[in-house]
Structure formats: structure tokens, C-alpha cells
Amino acid sequence: MFRFLLKRLALTIPTFLALMFITFVMIRLVPGDPVEARRGERGISPERHAELLHEMGLDQPVWKQFADYAGGILQGDFGTSIISKTPVLNEFLTLFPATLELTICAMLFASLIGIPAGVFAAARRGGIYDQTLMGVALTGYSMPIFWWGLILILVMSNTLGLTPVSGRVDLIKFYYQPVTGFALIDSLLSGQKGAFWDAVRHLILPSIVLGTVPLAVIARMTRSAMLEVLEEDYVRTARAKGLSMRRVIGVHALRNALIPVITSIGLQVGTLLAGAVLTETIFSWPGVGKWLIESIGRRDYPALQGGIMLIAACVIVVNLAVDLLYGLINPRIRHGK
């Protein structure tokens, strides 16, 4: 197990290096003057230009610049935002809990509905429930989520008035210090009446929207994994022993069917962390996805560079964790190849 862990860790090093290289090249490819692109100032005097060029190390040879950049990242220096003049890492860390909270809620929504739905569909294979569910799953899988979000806002918020339209907190009624950055926890800590319920209400629609595609994927996957497992000999043995179908499905089959499903859930958390871009934009959710899009609009290239580096790093770490966990559950993986 330890060797497997070391091997997987070692494999991420070249990925990180290449990621640094790509983000390093990226900011260099931005058309126009590099000093202007990075400082966001126009019409700089030649002397000031030379001064800034030296200050940013752009007069150094390229390999030295890359070494400086990589060294900075290793020490936690991801650059400084042009607009807010604060370190990119700080900005990222303030916004990240919002994205994480949304991602976790979306994944909970998707798993808690998707897994049981898939199990039922497999148990009643070919029946009306199975067919309906697979139809719904196909719709979810094909859904342009930005449109889905707008439709939900239109129906749930504007017509029925059930949920708020955007944001995380109703700032007119509530204000609390971000202690953990998670609205659900902070609202409880604040002790204000109704604050927690307010945070929940704000989370409902974004979680549904972000969780729709994973829900469809999980339901389809659980169903097919379940169908496969139900054909196994040990399931027949369990049935022959006289166990009820409910017990066979719920205990014997489900446990084995869940292994691939859990892996796919884990891998999707990584994608969702970043895929939250669209959902956050629609709901004005103050997370890293919305920040990234706004950075493009503001031509804040250092923020973009650092932000992409950080998001990709998060995804790589999550995927690594899933891999390790999978190796823990399934010995065939860690001993194979």
C-alpha cells in the first residue's frame, strides 16, 4: 500500500510542473505589452516601464523567470491581483469555502437521490419506473445547466416565491462574520434567529442546478453496476438460501455495486469544484468560479493565472485522494500494474 501511495504521489509531480509551465506560458501569450497586461496600467512612461520591467523580473532570461515563478508558487506566492492589489492566494482562500460548500451540497443532493433511484430502477428492470427514470436521467445528462438554473429561478423564485434569487445570505436581514467561510456553519455560530434557514434557502437552487448532471450520471451508473452485480453467482446463492430480494439487493448486491459508483462520485467532486463556474455566475454565488470569469472580464491576468493554477491543483489533489481511497477499497487496483 505504501509503495502504491508513493507511486501515485510521484506521478502528480510532473503534472504540477507542467501545470506551472502552462500557466507561465499563458500569461506570456496574452497579446500586447507584458507590463501593461500585468499591471493593468496604460500609457506608462518609458522610464517607469523599464523600472517595472526590472521590478517584475521580466528583463531576466526566460529560464530564470520560470524558476522564480515556480519557486514563488512553492512558497505560496501565486501572484498579486491587478484590481484588488491583494495576493491571489488570499483572494482564492476567501472565496473557496463558498464553492466548496456549494459543491458538497450538490454532491449530497446528487448521491442521496441518484443511488436509491438507480437501485430501484435496476430492481425493476424494464418496468415503467425504470424507463421513466432512465428518461429523466437522459434529460438531466443533456441539460444545459445555465438554462436549467434560469428556468428554476423563474419558476421557484419569481413565480412561486419559494427561494431567493441569488447570493448566499440575505444581507438586509442578516450579517455575520465569516468564521469558517461556510454559510451553513457561520449562520449557526452567529446565533441569529432564522439565519441558518436563510442560508439553507440560498443553497437549495444552486445545489440542484450544480447537482443535476452528477445526479443523472450517478443514477445511470448505479443502475448498470447493480444490474451487473445481480447476475453474479453469489446473488443467486443468496436468493437460493431463501433470503428476501430486498435483503439481497440492499445488503449483498449494493455493497459491491457501490465501489465504481463511489469512485465516480469522488472524481466528479473535482470536476464540480471547477464546473461551478456556470452555476455561480447564474446565482451570483461569491465563489472561485464567478471570480475567475470576472477576472477575465477585468483582464486581471495574474488573478487568472494564479486562480487556474490553484483550481487545477485542488482537482489534482481530490483525484489523487479518490485514487488512494479506491486502492484502499479495491486491492486489485493497487497490486495490478
Partner: protein
């Protein structure tokens, strides 16, 4: 199970008509046939958009802005699906939008398939350093989430229709490369390949004529599903303002245009999204059917 039997039977009769065998298996799946019909309809609309569309998609009728579709009150029979904020005919825009979305989807699929096949076959044939480099680069592309990578690429090369295609192609390339490489490696160890080598077939001919046709089934399925993914991804970029630029009638960008109007004129927002949903769904249905018909082993989704 029933369709397995059909495939087996049809398989025995395959030599006289491989297509007929395929069609027998494909047409058994009702959903797939519906999907195919819708896809055909969308393709026809896209091809004949200039003939079918009542107006130019970017022409603005100043006197008739924000008209509702025909079923709602206050509609104008001249504009069946109503008009948008600046008085452009929705029906015409949606028809031309089919052109753009399908064009993006197909271009991405074709380019990434051609490049993917070339890189996958090269990796499988040469092995060694070339294989390692190709696979590492693909792993790296896959490590960055698709939309973020697309955004990164667009941020550098600027938003436009062509750049959307470039960005989405790069994002989806690894799937094809890995698929081709894996199937080619599996085929390379088989006896018929050895036989071909012994017979003196050169490497290029061996890979393209002998090996590639046997890797096609999963590739075709991936290609079909790749079109729908590309359409969704491109629409998402369009919605974020990073794809096709106004006044291009791209469905995602049309949605973004109408966000301010959403509350007062919901249909302007509802229609483009519905078009994306239906098109993508039809392609996915068709893709699932293709997968079941071409390769029963791939049936688990």
C-alpha cells in the same frame, strides 16, 4: 438480452450486409430511432436555414420588439415565435442557431477524431518516449477541468466562434487519443496483425488499414457522444460571453443576451435553451443506440 440474440444472429449474416445487421440492432431501440429522427430534422433545418427561415437572423424590426410567440396574447402572426429585445425574429435566429451549434459540434468531433487517431496510433506503434510524452500531455489536459481549461484557452486567444472550436477540441482531444491508443494496443497483440507484419505490410499501412478499422466501433460511439458534449460546452462558453459574439445567433449567447428580459419575457430565454436540450438529448439517445448496436460489450454506461 433480447438484442444480444439479434446481434448474434445478424452477426452470422454480416458478410452480405454489415449495414443491415447494424440497422437491425439499432432500430430495435425505440429511443435511438427517435433520437436519429430528431437529429436528422435538426440537420435539415441547419442545412436549409436560409430557405426555411422567414427573416435574416440579425435583421432588427424596430417597430416589433419583444413580441410573444403565437400561442400568447399580443402575438404577431408574422413572427411565429416572437421577437427578441431588438426586434429580431426568434424563429429565424433559432434556425440559424442550429447551424452554428451543429457546425461547432461536428468540427470539434472531426478535428479531435483526426488528431486523436493520429496521436493514438503513433503512441501505440512507437511506444517508448513518444508514448510517454503523448500520454502525459493528455493526462495533464484531463487534470484541468474542461470548462476551466476552455476558459484559459479563450482568455489567451480571445473569444470568437473559431476559438471556441479550438478550445473545445483541445479539451476533448484526450478521450480520443486514449481510446485509440488502448484499442490499437489491444489489436496489436492479435494474430492477424502478426500475420500482416509477416506478410511484409509497412507500419503506416499496418496501422491505418489493418488495425484502425478494428478500433472503429468505440470510436464512432465516442464521436457521436462527443458532438453533444461539444455543443453543450460551446453553449456554456457562449453563455459566459466567451464563445460566439453578438449578433451571431448562437443558442448559448442568445440565452445570455436575454437575461435582463428573463422575468418580463420568459419565452425569449426559454426557447434557445429548449433547442440546446432537445438537440443534445437526441444526439445522446442516438449515441446510446449506436453503442448498443455496434458493441454490446460497451453497454454499461
Amino acid at each position: 438480452m433480447a438484442s444480444d440474440v439479434t446481434i448474434a444472429k445478424a452477426g452470422q449474416a454480416a458478410p452480405p450486409g454489415a449495414f443491415r445487421a447494424f440497422w437491425a440492432a439499432f432500430s430495435e431501440n425505440r429511443g435511438a430511432v427517435i433520437g436519429l429522427a430528431v437529429v436528422c430534422a435538426v440537420v435539415l433545418i441547419a442545412i436549409f436555414a436560409p430557405l426555411l427561415a422567414p427573416y435574416d437572423p440579425v435583421e432588427q424590426f424596430k417597430g416589433s420588439t419583444r413580441l410573444p410567440p403565437f400561442w400568447a396574447e399580443g402575438s404577431d402572426p408574422r413572427y411565429i415565435l416572437g421577437t427578441d429585445a431588438v426586434g429580431r425574429d426568434m424563429l429565424s435566429r433559432l434556425m440559424y442557431g442550429a447551424r452554428i451549434s451543429l457546425f461547432i459540434g461536428l468540427s470539434v468531433m472531426i478535428v479531435s477524431m483526426v488528431v486523436g487517431v493520429a496521436m493514438g496510433l503513433a503512441a501505440a506503434w512507437f511506444g517508448g518516449l513518444i508514448d510517454v510524452v503523448i500520454i502525459r500531455v493528455m493526462d495533464l489536459i484531463m487534470a484541468i477541468p474542461s470548462l476551466v481549461l476552455a476558459i484559459l484557452i479563450i482568455a489567451i486567444i480571445g473569444p470568437s466562434l473559431t476559438n471556441t472550436i479550438i478550445a473545445v477540441t483541445i479539451v476533448y482531444l484526450p478521450r480520443y487519443v486514449r481510446l485509440v491508443r488502448a484499442s490499437a494496443l489491444a489489436e496489436l497483440s492479435k494474430d492477424y496483425v502478426t500475420a500482416a507484419k509477416v506478410a511484409g505490410v509497412g507500419p503506416f499501412r499496418l496501422m491505418t488499414v489493418t488495425v484502425l478499422p478494428n478500433c472503429l466501433a468505440p470510436l464512432i460511439v465516442q464521436g457521436a457522444l462527443g458532438v453533444s458534449d461539444a455543443i453543450l460546452e460551446a453553449a456554456g462558453l457562449g453563455f459566459l460571453g466567451l464563445g460566439a459574439q453578438p449578433p451571431t445567433p448562437e443558442w448559448g449567447a442568445m440565452l445570455a443576451d436575454t437575461r435582463d428580459l428573463m422575468l418580463s419575457h420568459p419565452w425569449v430565454m426559454a426557447l434557445p435553451g429548449l433547442c440546446i436540450l432537445l438537440t443534445v438529448m437526441a444526439i445522446n439517445l442516438m449515441g446510446d443506440g449506436l453503442r448498443d448496436a455496434l458493441d454490446p460489450r460497451l453497454r454499461k454506461s
